[in-house]
């Protein structure tokens, strides 16, 4: 009897699932769990050890090509991967920008040398990446940026100021967008560089967020020498490379966040079971139940929307402007989700994340604050709506 390809695929998918589930059950240990007393640098350190563990077993970047340390997994296996990570409540990986943005961009448009040099260490977490796009006067209008690079022999000399740079002060490398032609229209004078953050002239300063945490930073570049071979794509064509990165940020990145939202929804349901309101568990309150159901629908459709969209993006292709819908969806649903958690806590919601009396070690209070950043970071909701209006619906540009 010969098996059909579909049957073979199903069997290899189930073997993949079983192997991963088994591995996770044996390898998620307490040393990879963060506690609330850790600062951002300490958290990243824990995540790096976890990412290294994953990498050594071949469980990070499963959809990436084998030659760079990935697993070359199929789309359905990548879906299974995300499901199993959610189920096992696996800790987060450290290299968010590297895995979600820098890596996919280098895979799409980088040179063979760049791929060989950077991709394996992005996967292993050995080198942490940050993304230098935003500037003090260029937020949503990122193409108006003024940081500049001037060619000098085999190098570019970079001067400029970047802000809101996630992982900025713990990063080893930066994908940096700079202006190389000041005479050209704003989108046509930009170039995209890979910058070693240990280069002379680079300085970083943590920026403290309203949560009290410092996940991001500002970066200063003063006469920083960047080797010419670190140019990604062509000179003055950096905007298209940046769009590639942003599309990945909205598309592929959403794919990975599905795991987090499924975990968070389960945690919210647990909270509603644990918390008592007016003498009965919150989960029995009809008003709370309706809102839980709405969020359940939100999380479920976010997952299905993401899978459906990613299934159209065959390997190596760049996700389209529909990714902006995914970004809108997750950022706004997360705000609704953490708001409900905050409200379920009733009078306890007034406590700060650090309070010993706050439920779940103050996690929800922290997330409640942190979520306000979701509709600003990675492109504000206003910018995402403009992108969908113009590029998906074809409405006129303002």
């Amino acid at each position: 009897m010969t098996m059909t390809t579909a049957e073979e695929q199903a069997i290899s998918d189930e073997a993949f699932r079983a192997e991963l589930r088994n591995w996770l059950s044996q390898n998620i240990t307490e040393e990879f769990r963060e506690n609330r007393d850790m600062n951002f640098r300490e958290r990243v350190a824990v995540r790096k050890t976890w990412q290294k563990k994953l990498f050594e077993a071949g469980w990070v970047g499963v959809g990436w090509p084998k030659e760079y340390g990935g697993r070359g997994a199929t789309f359905s296996q990548t879906v299974i991967y995300n499901e199993e990570m959610a189920l096992a409540k696996a800790p987060p990986t450290a290299n968010v920008i590297g895995l979600g943005m820098a890596g996919p961009t280098i895979l799409s448009v980088g040179t063979a040398e760049q791929k060989a040099r950077y991709l394996p260490k992005i996967l292993s977490g050995e080198e942490i990446w940050c993304q230098g796009f935003s500037e003090p006067n260029s937020g949503s209008d990122v193409a108006s940026l003024q940081s500049k690079a001037v060619r000098d022999g085999d190098n570019f000399v970079v001067n400029g100021h970047k802000v809101w740079t996630s992982f900025g002060y713990v990063a080893d490398y930066c994908i940096l967008l700079v202006r190389t032609d000041f005479a050209a229209p704003k989108h046509k004078g930009l170039s995209y560089l890979i910058v070693d953050m240990k280069s002379p002239g680079v300085s970083t300063r943590p920026l403290v967020q309203m949560t009290g945490d410092a996940e991001f930073a500002e970066l200063l570049f003063e006469d920083v020498k960047v080797p010419a071979q670190n140019l990604v794509g062509e000179i003055n064509k950096g905007w298209m490379v940046a769009i590639t990165t942003l599309m990945h940020e909205r598309g592929s990145f959403s794919f990975n966040t599905v795991v987090q939202f499924e975990q968070r929804m389960q945690n919210l349901l647990e909270l509603a079971r644990e918390q008592s309101r007016e003498g009965r568990p919150a989960i029995q309150d009809p008003l709370i139940r309706q809102r839980l159901a709405k969020l359940y629908i939100d999380v479920r459709t976010f997952k299905l929307n993401t899978l459906r969209q990613m299934s159209f993006v065959t390997k190596g292709q760049i996700p389209g402007p529909e990714g902006s819908l995914l970004k809108l969806h997750w950022s706004e649903l997360n705000q609704r989700l953490v708001e409900l958690a905050f409200e379920i806590a009733g009078p306890y919601s007034a406590l700060a994340p650090d309070s010993d009396d706050a439920p779940n070690q103050g996690r929800w209070q922290y997330e409640y604050m942190r979520a306000r950043g979701n509709t600003i970071e990675a492109g504000t909701s206003e910018v995402q709506r403009n992108i969908v209006a113009e590029r998906v619906l074809g409405l006129p540009h303002y």
Partner: protein
């Protein structure tokens, strides 16, 4: 899960769209909705000639027994064109109910007639109370010489005024059961309700010692009725999705052409952004619909969750789209003349048909063990 329609399903959807554009123009719809029964025999026969009445009928009774994804693709287009008449009641409600609960004779008699477009039918399960629960069913069935007699009142029965038979949920002692009542039966009275949706009719059915045949082909009638409503909700959600698509297409086209203050209004973010929000809801509805169709076709354990999810989501989204559609069009959107009002009315009626979003969200939580 399904990520997309296959090429055959896309071709079928195109065929339905072309048919609707030709046969169901706005003047035609408005003519049909003026008739007492919101029924047009000519349109019905043309649809039957396309074979669409046979979509949900098992093959042994002359049907196509199509996948629910294919059925959904057809309903999406019918919803997009706001096609009037008893198609939903017959194809998505009565045919599945009959296939699930009818005995051999009942199926052999009626299913081939449905498949050929010779019979129209519906299911009546709600009563004159504000409840979607089967527990509120009070209509009684008592054994008689030739079968059963039904007594009670049914409300909100869809398009019963043109049905050749009505499947009625009633209490046989302490058990819920389904009964087949033929048009013209003694003691059967059907009154039209003034409904929000002008393209379909809701009815009140009074049963007074009305002769009926028990549908005893299913082990558990309660579960069979639940399974019937899963199918009806899927079809209705597909119809909702088609309606949302029409509203969005119409609103976007208008915003690209209408000029005020020297600019196209679609360039204003205050006009554009609500249309983007409706686009996201439409995308989510499509994903949820394909998942529910997949579950009905392949994964029985996921059906209750997936169907209630898409019914709740599509109902709220359709209504919201209609609000945005009217607002985008401005004055013309608020007129009798513009078809936007027909979609608003359909959205409002579909919202509570087969259970409103509040009801389905509660069902969803129960289905996932919360």
């Amino acid at each position: 899960m399904y990520f997309d329609l296959n090429s055959e399903q896309k071709m079928l959807a195109q065929t339905v769209r072309r048919f609707v554009e030709k046969e169901c123009t706005s003047p035609k719809i408005r003519q049909i909705m003026q008739t007492p029964d919101a029924y047009d025999a000519d349109l019905w026969n043309k649809m039957a000639a396309q074979g669409w009445m046979s979509l949900t009928v098992p093959e042994e009774f002359g049907g196509l027994n199509e996948s629910w994804l294919t059925v959904a693709a057809v309903f999406e287009e019918l919803g997009r064109g706001i096609v009037p008449g008893p198609f939903l009641a017959t194809v998505a409600l009565a045919a599945p109910a009959l296939a699930l609960t009818g005995n051999a004779n009942q199926k052999a008699r009626w299913l081939p007639l449905i498949a050929e477009g010779q019979a129209k039918a519906t299911v009546a399960y709600l009563e004159p109370v504000n409840s979607y629960s089967f527990d509120s069913i009070k209509t009684t069935a008592t054994p008689s010489a030739n079968g059963y007699q039904l007594n009670g009142t049914k409300m909100f029965a869809l398009d019963a005024q043109v049905a050749d038979f009505i499947i009625v949920a009633a209490m046989d002692g302490s058990d819920l059961a389904l009964f087949l009542v033929e048009a013209g039966a003694e003691g059967l009275k059907i009154e039209l309700l003034e409904g929000m949706d002008l393209t379909r009719r809701l009815t009140r059915i009074t049963l007074e010692n009305t002769p009926a045949a028990k549908m005893d082909g299913a082990k558990d009638a309660r579960e069979a009725l639940e399974q019937t409503l899963f199918r009806a909700c899927l079809a209705l959600s597909a119809e909702n999705m088609g309606g949302i698509q029409w509203i969005l297409d119409t609103s976007v086209a208008y915003a690209k052409n209408r000029e005020q203050y020297g600019r196209l209004i679609g360039s204003y973010q205050a006009v554009a952004h609500p249309l983007v929000d409706r686009t996201l809801e439409l995308t989510s509805t499509r994903s949820a619909l394909y998942q529910a169709a997949y579950d009905l076709d392949h994964n029985p354990t996921g059906v209750a969750e997936a169907v209630s999810l898409v019914k709740a989501l599509s109902s709220d989204s359709y209504r919201q789209s209609a609000y945005t559609g009217i607002q985008t069009l401005g004055g013309i959107g608020f007129t009798w003349e513009h078809d936007m009002q027909l979609y608003f009315r359909r959205a409002s009626a579909n919202w509570s048909l087969f259970g409103d979003p509040t009801w389905h969200r509660e069902l969803l939580l129960k289905a996932v063990g919360v």
